[in-house]
Amino acid sequence: MADLRVDLGKFSLKNPVMTASGTFGYGFEYAEFFPLDRLGAVVVKGITVRPVHGNPTPRVAEVSSGMLNAIGLQGPGVDKFLHDDHYMPFLKKSGATVIVNIWGKSVDEYREVAEKLEAEKDGITALEINISCPNVKEGGISFGTNAAKASELVAQVRAATSIPLITKLSPTVSNIGEFAKAVVDAGSDVISLINTIPSMAIDIETRRPKIANVTGGLSGPAIKPVAVRMVYEAAKAVKVPVIGMGGICNADDAVEFIIAGASAIAVGTAIFTNPMAPIEVIDGINSYLDRKKIASVKELCGTVDIRK
């Protein structure tokens, strides 16, 4: 049995496997498949100041080796999240390590969510600032593609809370290293990437877009090579830990991200195919380490050999 613990600066996890925000609900729905405290962390769906309806349907479409989604961050709002039995109170009871993904339409809204979570932070291990959602008109990705705006946002959230901060980056920037550095300088303790890639699919019979929002975010195996490259570049650029995600379906995929430079990883879309995927990934990483006679997953991080 290898040592699976990972160190993410201000906090550590029992293993490197988390669930990607938006693909695991608020944990409740998957608790009948496995105990949530087996995961490194549960990352909940994006939480906002007020409840959000989300986008019209259809909200998802399947494409080759992936899917498009434009859910539009439907959610209960931060107050209900903190107090309704199905959300935070349930997660606390489950013993899960909880990371809360946050989102807003303006800097003020992000700050307000952070303040409310700060006030009741018992049981919250970290916040993940989503500056990269491609499916909402305001906020989200408009911060994710402008390094100055992103830094300002992170600094404001930083000022509002002492909870460790993860900033989730968008893949739609040309220099991810620069971007990562900017948010780390602004106070982010960890970075995570990638969010979905803005994409489109059209029904050729009706000539209608396959999702009502016209465009949506691509996720799943189709985006994995893009994600591995960006994790590699981001990890080289910053000293803080990096959480990698994008198309991870099994332990081999997860190990690839770790070798590229990720300290921890998240399983997302693959959960829709196989609800047990995160657990299989944990067990599979352990088997890989045992097979390679590597004592700790930390030793594997960033060990890609690029010698010519």
Binding site: G22, T23, F24, G25, F28, E29, Y30, E32, F33, K45, P51, H53, G54, T57, P58, R59, V60, A61, E62, S64, S65, G66, M67, N69, I71, Q74, G220, P221, T269, A270, I271, F272, T273, N274, P275, M276
Partner: protein
């Protein structure tokens, strides 16, 4: 929870409709009318999502689904041979409630809806009606099975080739007219437009019903918020999006939001 189901038979029922029978005792044990299973179709390596199908029949260890071939997944499903296996999640969702006391079941269906509601005709102690709407004769399925279960079958086709010409709501109006004062319990499953029309018609007549709604589905258990429909809510907008996989697929007609926004 997921289970493996071995295909026992998989045959064309009529035109594009097929019937697959699986050995899936764990699912059968819990299956109720209106429940669905979320099926991983093998042999589609580049397709990542499961496909939802209503449970048409669950007897002993045998689970039956009736499906229409409409795309890649259902096409691959139709090619599976006895002995091959699929991974199932289920039974999932909120089921229909069976008629009680003197309630007479009235099933209003279109397309595969007649399969999704079929277990009501098997398990209801009271016999009733199937009102089936279809574009053409080709979409009329399971009518003999319903008759064998003691149900009266009435049909409407858009082209008028069989039964009444027009939409199924015409049959609903006729039936309401004939059965004034009787305790009718309505069930609906079919295209979204048909269900909204049915729901509004029932509400105008001050009766409730249970409608099984279907939307493009993803996780199947309430985590991803893909498969939502509008239901009434006491927030300022008067509605919210509810997940058909978890809060449905069966909704009360009186809970569905009919406003256009």
């Amino acid at each position: 929870m997921s289970h493996t189901g071995e295909i026992l038979s998989n045959e064309v029922l009529k035109d594009k409709y097929c019937r697959a029978v699986f050995r899936a005792p764990e699912i059968c044990e819990k299956a109720e009318p209106g429940h669905f299973v979320h099926v991983m179709i093998p042999s589609m390596r580049d397709r990542i999502l499961r496909r939802p199908f209503s449970i048409c029949h669950a007897g002993g260890s045998q689970l039956t689904i009736v499906y229409k071939v409409v795309g890649r997944g259902t096409e691959e499903l139709s090619r599976l041979k006895p002995g091959e296996k699929c991974d199932f999640m289920g039974p999932l969702g909120v089921p229909f409630s069976l008629p009680v006391e003197d309630e007479i079941p009235v099933i209003v269906a279109g397309g595969y809806g007649a399969a999704a509601t079929y277990m009501i005709s098997e398990r209801s102690k009271n016999k009733g009606y199937l009102l089936l709407g279809a574009r053409t004769e080709k979409d009329l399925i399971l009518t003999d099975n319903y008759k064998n279960n003691g149900f009266e079958v009435r049909v409407a086709t858009e082209d008028g080739a069989v039964g009444t010409k027009g939409l199924v709501t015409v049959l609903v109006k006729e039936l309401l007219e004939e059965n004034k004062g009787k305790n009718l319990k309505f069930y609906g499953c079919g295209p979204h437009g048909m269900l909204l029309a049915l729901g509004e018609l029932l509400i105008t007549n001050e009766i409730d019903g249970e409608l099984s709604m279907d939307q493009m589905m993803c996780c199947g258990i309430g985590a991803c918020f893909a498969c939502v429909v509008k239901v009434k809510d006491n927030n300022p907008d008067g509605w919210r999006y509810a997940r058909t996989c978890k809060e449905g697929p069966v909704f009360k007609a009186s809970d569905v939001y009919y406003g256009r926004t």
